[in-house]
């Protein structure tokens, strides 16, 4: 039974978002299973086709999505990493130097042109004010490192631990991405093998009833996953994926936090600072409660 568009919108408002998502995915799964069942009852042999692949995608999207979000979300790290690439920094500093030479020439051009023009229309005293203005600004433009070179030296201003955290987060993200690929492979292989066993069974038997057909498919898959989820391979990959994902999150957050913490202009407390404050408050609360208990016991005695 399909749900109308209006019903789905209303359902989204009433149901938990997870239920809504899983229901939508199961509607799609049902469409594919119906197609396979129709093929089966018409006497055609089943084979592993795009319908099975689509069922797989709908089935595991709920679980893969947060992991994929971590894989893709972390791509920003690569851009950050470029900022600290020394070769790139050298290249950037040459560009900046050329740009400052251009600015200096442009400045001189404007100065000379203005002096010529001003000498004709303004009194000499006004010209002196202009020259003074030019003199002070010339100092700035003569030392471009203050304004422009700063950007390329930024990494040297940061504590070493900032860069170490960034490096570690990249390292764990790469390991996590590898483990996730392997994880996806194990899940897909398990699914495909069980689907193939179901196909053999379906081609040997005849399931007139759709629910029996769909139920048999689910049973084959469920049994296969019951086995694999406790297998050594699965446990190893799941552990590596989770450990590295957690380390990536931790080190990346510490990288951002330490950058903020080392900047005297930063007006914000980081979440780690708050965490430490909450730890101390809770510890004090425990001590107060212990003292209150002792006082109350003495009072009773």
């Amino acid at each position: 039974m399909a749900l109308s568009r209006d019903e789905l919108i209303e359902l989204f408002r009433e149901a938990p978002k997870e239920s809504f998502e899983l229901l939508l995915r199961n509607l799609k799964i049902r469409e594919h299973l119906r197609v396979l069942h129709a093929k089966h009852v018409s006497g055609l042999k089943l084979s592993y086709d795009a319908n099975f692949d689509s069922i797989f995608e709908e089935f595991f999207r709920f679980f893969f999505r947060p992991l994929e979000a971590a894989v893709y979300g972390a791509r920003q790290l690569r851009f950050l990493f470029f900022m600290f690439d020394l070769g790139l920094m050298e290249f950037q500093s040459e560009t900046l130097r050329a740009y400052s030479d251009f600015l200096r020439s442009w400045f001189d051009h404007l100065r000379l042109t203005s002096e010529l023009m001003l000498g004709k229309v303004l009194p000499t005293s006004a010209l002196d004010v202009f020259r003074e203005f030019i003199r002070t600004h010339r100092e700035k433009i003569e030392s471009p490192r203050v304004d422009l070179g700063y950007a390329v030296e930024y990494p040297f201003l940061l504590p070493k631990s900032v860069l170490t955290n960034l490096e570690k987060s990249i390292e764990h993200w790469e390991r996590f991405s590898e483990a996730f690929k392997e994880y996806r492979r194990i899940i897909k292989e398990t699914y495909v093998k069980a689907a193939e066993r179901f196909i053999e069974e379906a081609n040997r038997s005849r399931f007139e009833d759709y629910q029996v057909f769909a139920g048999t498919f689910s049973n084959f898959e469920a049994q296969a996953f019951d086995e694999v989820l406790k297998s050594e391979d699965y446990l190893r990959v799941q552990k590596s994926m989770l450990d590295n994902l957690m380390d990536y999150i931790y080190f990346y957050r510490r990288f951002l936090e330490e950058m903020l913490e080392s900047n005297p202009l930063n007006p914000f407390a980081t979440v780690s600072m708050l965490d430490e404050a909450f730890r101390r408050i809770l510890e004090l609360k425990r001590r107060i409660s212990e003292l209150e208990k002792r006082i109350s016991e003495k009072g009773i005695a």
């Binding site: 149901a15 709920f62 019951d226 989820l229 931790y250 708050l274 809770l282």
Partner: protein, 325 residues
């Protein structure tokens, strides 16, 4: 329309008042006529919300207890925030003691029936072993006391490094835990369950039951980071409770102190806390008056299935009532 069937679904039909609060924890007292001397204190698991015991009128265990004229109190562990990340298991045990103190003060009794559910049972057993003089009866429902079991969830828990998780996430979010709970049995929980719903969209009662349950499943609080570390390390990795190595504030939790009447409610198809999670405990504690009721349902089915309400609950409540005066 499916939406018409689920509009206005609101779990928790039994009324209660909040008697005491120490954020994020609360103590509730259900409203009802009291006809027995010993109050019941329900301690639910800190990884879900306790209203599964009062999901809706047809399957409310709380309603049955109130109808039996029992004085029902319940601990609500709340929704821990960043401010609560350093809570420890001993804070939970301490809060149970505070609740027992409040109940005794307000009702003029000196003992309660302590009723634990899932991880709330583990806390209840620890409390009962530390303060046996304050526990008249101990009821534990789908209790994990022995964590060395072979169900997928236990195998995974032994394979997790909880410090890495807590360090990265601070508190372990409900979403994170939900993914794990669904992934232990992905085909049945993600496909089977929803395909069954699609098969019965015309049946109003089935649709309502389904969404009552899903509202509860996905209303999942975070677990305080340090509690998560302790519960995975000390309970799953080291199995400290059943091995007599668990301590609270320096005091060893001695299960030989469980001498009060004991009722165990277990579920044969429980994939979270299978019967093996409690059998060694049930067999070894010295309590003389002990009984086990085994349902043929799963972890939650024991509470909300109509068959459990027909067979298990009348017997369980009779057992409590007989020991409440």
């Amino acid at each position: 329309m499916i939406v018409e069937k689920i509009k206005g679904i609101k779990p928790g039909p039994c009324e209660y008042e909040t008697v005491y609060e120490d954020a994020p924890f609360k103590l509730h007292r259900f409203k009802g006529e009291v006809g027995h001397k010993t109050p019941i204190l329900v301690t639910y698991a800190f990884i879900n919300r306790p209203y599964v015991l009062d999901l809706h009128r047809d399957v409310s265990v709380i309603k049955l207890l109130l109808e039996a004229r029992l004085d029902v109190w319940m601990v609500d562990w709340g929704y821990p925030s960043l401010a609560d990340r350093h809570l420890r298991l001993e804070d939970y045990v301490e809060f149970i003691d505070t609740c027992v103190g409040k109940i005794c003060e307000l009702t003029g009794t000196d003992k309660v029936t302590l009723w634990g559910y899932c991880l709330g049972s583990t806390l209840a057993v620890i409390y009962a072993a530390l303060h046996p003089e304050k526990v008249r009866n101990l009821v534990i429902q789908t209790p994990p006391i022995n964590f060395n079991t072979q169900n997928t969830l236990a195998v995974w828990a032994r394979n997790v490094d909880p410090e890495k998780v807590s360090r990265a996430l601070f508190n372990v979010t409900g979403d994170f835990l939900n993914v794990a709970f669904l992934l232990v049995d992905p085909v049945r929980l993600v496909i089977g369950k929803y395909q069954s719903l699609l098969d019965s969209l015309e049946d109003e009662k089935s649709v309502k039951d389904f969404f009552y349950m899903d509202h509860w499943i996905f209303d999942s609080p975070a677990v305080a980071g340090k509690v998560y570390e302790e519960y995975i390390t000390r309970w799953y990795h080291r199995n400290e409770v059943i091995e007599g190595k668990f301590t609270v504030g320096g005091r060893k939790v001695d299960l030989n102190q469980i001498r009060m009447p004991l009722l165990v409610l277990a579920a044969a198809k429980d994939h979270i806390t299978p019967p093996e999670s409690v059998l060694p405990f049930f067999e070894s504690v010295p309590s003389q008056d002990k009984k086990m009721l085994l349902s043929d349902k799963g972890h939650i089915g024991l509470t909300v299935s109509r068959s459990s309400h027909a067979k298990i609950w009348p017997e369980a409540i009779k057992w409590v009532v007989e020991r409440s005066d």
